[in-house]
Homo-oligomer: 441 residues x 2
Amino acid sequence: MEPMKNCEILLRARYVLTQDATRTVLENAAVAVDHGRIVGVGPSDAMPYDADAVRDLGDAMLLPGLVNAHTHAAMTFLRGVADDLPLLEWLEQKIFPLEASLTADIVRASSLLGFAEMLCTGTTACQDMYLFEGDVLDAARTAGIRCLAGEGVFLFPSASCKDWRQALDLTRERARVLSRDERLAVSVCPHSVYTTDEEILRACRDLSEKEGLRLHIHLAETRDETQRCLASYNERPVERCERLGLLDVPCTLAHVVDVTDDELEVLARHPLATVAHNPSSNMKLGSGSAPVPAMLDRGVAVALGTDGPASNNQLNMFAEMGRAALLHKTNGRPTVTPAQKVLDMATLAGANALGMADAGRIIEGAPADIIALDLNAPNMRPMYNPVSHAVYAATGHETVMTMVNGEILYDRGRFTRFNYADLCAEMDSIRDYVRKKAGLS
Amino acid sequence: MEPMKNCEILLRARYVLTQDATRTVLENAAVAVDHGRIVGVGPSDAMPYDADAVRDLGDAMLLPGLVNAHTHAAMTFLRGVADDLPLLEWLEQKIFPLEASLTADIVRASSLLGFAEMLCTGTTACQDMYLFEGDVLDAARTAGIRCLAGEGVFLFPSASCKDWRQALDLTRERARVLSRDERLAVSVCPHSVYTTDEEILRACRDLSEKEGLRLHIHLAETRDETQRCLASYNERPVERCERLGLLDVPCTLAHVVDVTDDELEVLARHPLATVAHNPSSNMKLGSGSAPVPAMLDRGVAVALGTDGPASNNQLNMFAEMGRAALLHKTNGRPTVTPAQKVLDMATLAGANALGMADAGRIIEGAPADIIALDLNAPNMRPMYNPVSHAVYAATGHETVMTMVNGEILYDRGRFTRFNYADLCAEMDSIRDYVRKKAGLS
């Protein structure tokens, strides 16, 4: 008999979706966690561990925590302020004016609300781009979630930076401070090709390369972006990024809706690039449907994101998986984006896009980022195929436990790191402030 | 001061979405319920009611219960058995063979599971079509949900009827038994134009007219259906229904995806017809996107349905509202199917399609079909616009109370009419039976 080993916590559950190389689903299994890592996975009744704590989730499935590969968590403060408008009117008449009166305090509280929503719907890591990103990182530290965060870099002044050089200085400085942080990291975030210029994009690329930071940009989101890019620079967005070397550093390209087959070939030739697909936002803003099946066919890495809550309006990766799985099938293609591939996008590909190549799976040695979905809800019954239920049947609110780095951050309705009621009160004040600014009251 | 009146129950909440003629949203309001009806709606602190019971939902919104206008609730027994397959392979190799071994007991338990899912995600009424529909009605009686149910009528024998005449006999008989039932009713359900013939369709139409029963049919779901109909009868599905008079009785047409502009004009000229739009199912099976914005523009009545859980895989009208709101915007039309119109589809239009013209709203005199959504979940904060949150932010699991006909059927996780644990055990046995039949174990 194997000698007993010690571990901090042993999780037991009816199913474990390992997302290992062969996508093994274990029944009646257990996961041993120690010092933030998974140290063992196996049958519940034959785990050679003497655990400090045993947590039996019962009729539940354990999954790797989902990874939100493109978001603006702080935009919860704008959730539902303006819907159903044309994109430019929405951005220029609603969102930008409200963002002009943004403060660090709003960003901190609103990000924490966003992270609360992520944690209670099974997301353990996210890639964020916004303003006052130091405060986003503060909120992520409070929540305990993993966050790769970047200050938006623009050609024009933002509410948080007087110019793009300041945004890059902040990026460099935060990266230095966080260089050894287990959960937080910093990326270089040129906002897009239409809100920057060549000098900025080159500076971003150079900073990324010099400091070993990942790069994150909105790319080819709409046909309008392509037209603007062609009109200004006589090149298409993907072409521009390729020429300026942005695709040669580890990067996440958010949206990638308006692309040609040739551009997909370009992306396929750049293995450091991951597309972050945001179906809800693309649908809601009328941007179109990213050619995800063609991307997958060509071997382009595709992760999944919610985008910000102003254009979704959720930060719920289960809702996003369902929509991603459905959207691409609509016109006569029921076999594309099958459940397993969509789950891969939300776990393995997302983890990779955040620079956590060993995460997104429940195997020995991986970071202990694990969620538990309760299977007692009527929509999770009967059970034939846990992967199908995770993608097609779950709403996200079946999440009963969320663990990051071996620490339980959400436990049956309770956030373990912060006072949720106080946060709600703070958000009520922010809402009143926004209503005044927007002339809604 | 107004004299105090008595009522059985007074519901108080932060918001009440009345869905009245001007779509009034009340803040800090109350709803008085008596003998299954709403008897008063107004400001919480000035309601002249002396209630037998007061239920303060606190930070919640009350909405009219959602109406699922097209479903096959019993198909929960197939949830997740087969996904991501081409439509014909899915139907003919997976669904039909499993349905061939269907029994009344499976239908009763599986329908109850479906109704449980509906009740706990805010649906108070549904329109169902399937086999062994008497058992569906039994399950609806157990659950307490409103149900307009019809036995599927086919050209060929089904698991429940040896021929179409028997299906119509059952329909007539059940309608007679239920003629005065407050919550249950019967419709005439020719399955589709491609699984019936002219004699059957005429007989269905005649029965509908003679007995005053609503008619419910799958129509123009796919291009393939149109091709089959053209090949067999040299007419398109909508044309066939028009010619045979099916559109002249109160009817629900499920799907209506593959239609021309001329056919939309035909539908607009038939005010007794309601389209039941099923975005999830249409996407998942690759059927296409029904031209809902064009329907609404022309004044065609459009309700919303989940279809069956084998092709969704949920029976969650909040998920369905979100997808309906997003799907039609995808290609450059962010202003179509705005939140209020989608909520109208899921309430007013749905109620009308079920023959409950006075339901789907919270006004004096309407049936007391009311749900409460908890607003404490992170995704429901902050609150600017309750209609936006109901359609774009809610997952459905925010439902904390579901009332039908003045009776609370679901209350913070508990079903009041039946033992949910027993039902789950029964579904486990059914799953084992299905797995054996499908060769899955």
